[in-house]
Amino acid sequence: MGYPQKPHARETVVLSKYFGDADARTYKGWIKRGGYEMLAQALTMEPAKIIDIVKESGLRGRGGAGFPTGLKWSFMPKEKKKPHYLCVNADESEPGTFKDREIMRWTPHALLEGSAIAAHAIQAEVVYIYIRGEFTEPWTYMERALAEATAAKVFGGIKIYLHRGAGAYICGEETALMNSIEGKRGNPRIKPPFPAAAGVFGMPTTINNVETLAAVPHILKQGAAWYKGLSLSSPKSTGTKLFSVCGHVQRPGNYEVTMGFPLKDLLYELCGGMQAGRTLKACIPGGSSVPILSREETEGCLLDYEGVVEKGSMLGSGGVIVFDDSTDMVYQIMRLARFYAHESCAQCTQCREGTAWTTKILERILAGQGKMADLDLLLDLSENMTGKTICVLSDSCAAPVVSGIKKFRSEFEEYIAGRRRAVMVA
């Protein structure tokens, strides 16, 4: 999208069509633009039919995990014995990601419509939209839109409520989100049980990301085949994705491109490339929890789930953080580790203690007190923090550390050897 600029010619504008169009936020404005037609249609369809369409489309979770959405919906009990719930994950807190915010600010009705269709598909009567506490502006627009749409009775028997978060990145983890809705500390849950079996309030629940749900009305309108056809590389990655590009590019912003789009083109063409006199040093393609890509890897990377994995990272949330050659990689990796240490819920030993220790080691290195053994220690710690905890926050802290040491080792060694001046760490 490049909002606030006009869409770039190479974007595939679907979800971002009305970004910047204040009229689209209103109920009347949305109706004028064809809104809620697909909801009305969906409410007359069999839930199983809707699930089939979404399955066929190849839509995958846009929050970060990339799990096939139709498949996730199909995990819900077919026979309704208990109340079903849909939770909408609008907790967007992954560093580098700012797309759900735009969807809610500009097209709140799109989210409401997608949520209602999804609720119908999974036979849920209640929808909780969990919006992070800091999103005061999206909240306002969502609240207004919800009031208007509810008054217009478009949701059938489905009840949609907004639930405000209060400052916890971990509540973006689907089981932590459910605990937060229940009025508990935002601790992730051990699985099993899985949400579709016992989720919020112990009832069958599906949790979907904002961007995922915003795509649903389009899929219903233009068909699964259309969505599936939007694929430039891997057939397992379909549709469009809003990539939130930030950091050292000329034109940061959200860009909606077809899956498989070359990352190089996104950065150099759509975003206008680096700042004057600067070159690309590194890029994190999917929000800070995925491995850092080197310049070479970045420039050869195709933006779909499989393409990024091929380069050794993950598509994740699509939050593209761009570092140019002025960046102190050691400092930024420390800052990311500090982020994870701040956000750890404290349940698992490796995460609670490991994120803090990792941060401390990096701070010492930056302060000129590091030793060569520290790098091995960091890698060993990262190994202990990966694949052994309830959720992946611990792994997410390890990702930039491991990839950072692997690809930018010399910068660490500069500090350790005293060839780089120590920095004051706040």
Partner: protein, 509 residues
């Protein structure tokens, strides 16, 4: 379906357990203890400490044994390199902020952090001295519990106990990340009647009992299985003694009665077991005074009194006395085939009552209103609860036997025989005083309120010449020609199951 057995292999050993069993429990069956902290069979599963990481074939990542159910054909490896490395990682991270308090920490010697670190931890620190350890001051949580945040490993057993078992969520986890600690609201105190269990549950020396603080080292303690005398619930306990002094009471696992817990009333109910002002020799009344003597003379004196007596005998017994003693007291008057008979007897007991305090999360478990362990035993043996009537009858009785009732004031025109642990004023007029052992000094059984007979064992020697009450009564009966001697408490128990109606077929646990 419920009885369906699942077969799996753990460390090469075949194991067969019911469907739904957790891997950590299945491992116990193979004699394998998977290291763990947050898991406890009496608490809901948390899966937070990550200590019980094991390798399971076909699973891509290490799994926690406490939250994984067994599956047919599952192959578990607890000692593989990845599993051990995973656990070593957890131990290292638990120790980075853990103070080197072992020399001053009560938990030393019974500390699971020490145990597992010794077993599979790193030999040296990579944290100190470069990085400072987290520090928070000690907190006083309530009547008996101290919280040492520096030692806490955030296993949350205490929080889960208060929330899910005591059903009074007075403890919480406060803050987030490595700033987290166990918190309590400033207006709240940890004074729940069952709160002391958090001290036992704490795997490290973070939650401490003020009562036990710095009292003894774990390895100095002798541990004896016993039954709590605080009320009629009959919780299984362990008496910890050091140099023959009872210094601590802890719960003993008993899935039928108290699961893994005891109440604070029972927990604190042990100082009286160490009383020094005990009757240490048999005493006989002579020239207006009680004189110490030996057992032979004392028994002979009682025998003479019994032979010469005619009319009524009254036995006023304590519901804290063992079932064996209560039986033999009855036999003294009512049994013996009538030889030396002619004694009509009544026996009675009274029970101190208090407020009931259930542990809501466990079925049928409470600090019971009846504050005595063997009221049921007394009842089954035919003792009456009409104490007032018995006291009245005692006034004109020929013989009054009082068994371990130190606060009793009894008036009698007849002969008073007092068997007890301490000598009250009211017993100075007794013809014979017989020193007996207390619950920590003998083997015996109590019958709890549900009719369950449970054994307790001797933890320390009785002072001076004091003997178990069952022995004393057996000797009296033999001397008076009113019954056969019994050689052991077990023999006494066997006899009573045969003789008493309500106790027929009883088997002690």
């Amino acid at each position: 379906m419920a009885d369906e057995l699942i077969n799996l292999t753990i460390d090469g050993a075949p194991v067969s357990v019911p469907k739904g069993t957790l891997v950590i429990e299945a491992a116990k069956q193979a004699g394998i203890l998977v290291p763990h902290y947050c898991y406890h069979p009496g608490l809901p599963v948390a899966g937070v400490c990550r200590m019980c990481l094991v390798e399971i074939e076909k699973a891509p990542k290490l799994q926690i044994a406490c939250a994984t159910q067994v599956a047919e054909g599952m192959v578990v490896r607890t000692q593989s390199a990845p599993a051990k490395q995973g656990r070593m990682g957890v131990l290292e991270l638990l120790l980075i902020n853990h103070p080197l308090d072992c020399p001053i920490c009560d938990q030393a010697g019974e500390c699971e952090l020490q145990d597992f670190t010794f077993q599979e931890g790193r030999p040296a620190t990579r944290y100190s001295p470069d990085y400072p350890k987290r520090f928070n001051p000690v907190e006083d949580f309530g009547p008996d519990v101290l919280y040492v945040p520096n030692r806490c490993i955030l296993c949350t057993r205490c929080v889960r106990f208060m929330e899910d078992i005591a059903k009074e969520p007075v403890l919480n986890v406060s803050e987030r990340g490595d700033r987290a600690y166990i918190g309590i609201h400033p207006d709240a105190r940890l004074d729940h009647p069952w709160a002391g269990n958090v001290v036992d549950l704490c795997p490290v020396g973070s939650l401490l009992s003020k009562d036990f603080l710095h009292k003894a080292r774990a390895w100095e303690l002798d541990k004896t299985a016993s039954i709590c005398t605080g009320c009629s619930q009959g919780c299984s306990i362990t008496l910890d003694t050091r140099d023959n002094v009872v210094v601590r009471v802890r719960p003993r696992p008993n899935l039928e009665v108290n699961r893994f817990f005891i109440c604070d009333h029972g927990r604190m109910n042990y100082r009286w077991m160490n009383r020094g002002d005990r009757i240490e020799a048999p005493l006989v009344q002579r020239d207006g005074e009680l004189h110490a003597t030996d057992w032979d003379e004392a028994c002979e004196r009682v025998a003479t009194l019994l032979r010469g007596a005619g009319g009524r005998a009254v036995a006023l017994v304590s519901p804290k006395a063992s079932t064996e003693a209560l039986f033999l007291a009855r036999e003294l008057f009512a049994g013996g085939g009538g030889r030396g008979g002619g004694l009509e007897w009544i026996g009675a007991f009274q029970v101190v009552m208090g407020e009931e305090a259930p542990l809501v999360g466990v079925p049928n478990l409470a600090l019971r209103a009846e504050r005595a362990p063997n009221a049921k035993g007394a009842e089954l043996l035919g003792y009456s609860r009409d104490y007032a009537a018995a006291l009245a009858a005692a006034e004109t009785a020929a013989i009054v036997l009082v068994l371990d009732e130190p606060d009793l004031v009894v008036r009698t025109a007849g002969t008073l025989i007092y068997a007890g642990t301490v000598l009250p004023e009211g017993a100075r007029a007794a013809a014979v005083v017989l020193p007996i052992a207390n619950v920590a000094e003998e083997d015996g059984t109590f019958v709890n309120r549900d009719g369950r007979a449970q054994r307790y064992f001797q933890a320390k020697p009785a002072p001076g010449m004091a003997r178990p009450a069952w022995w004393v009564l057996s000797e009296l009966a033999a001397a008076a020609g009113r019954g056969e001697r019994v050689a052991t408490a077990a023999e006494a128990f066997e006899r009573l199951t045969a003789a008493a109606d309500g106790l027929r077929g009883l088997v002690p646990a």
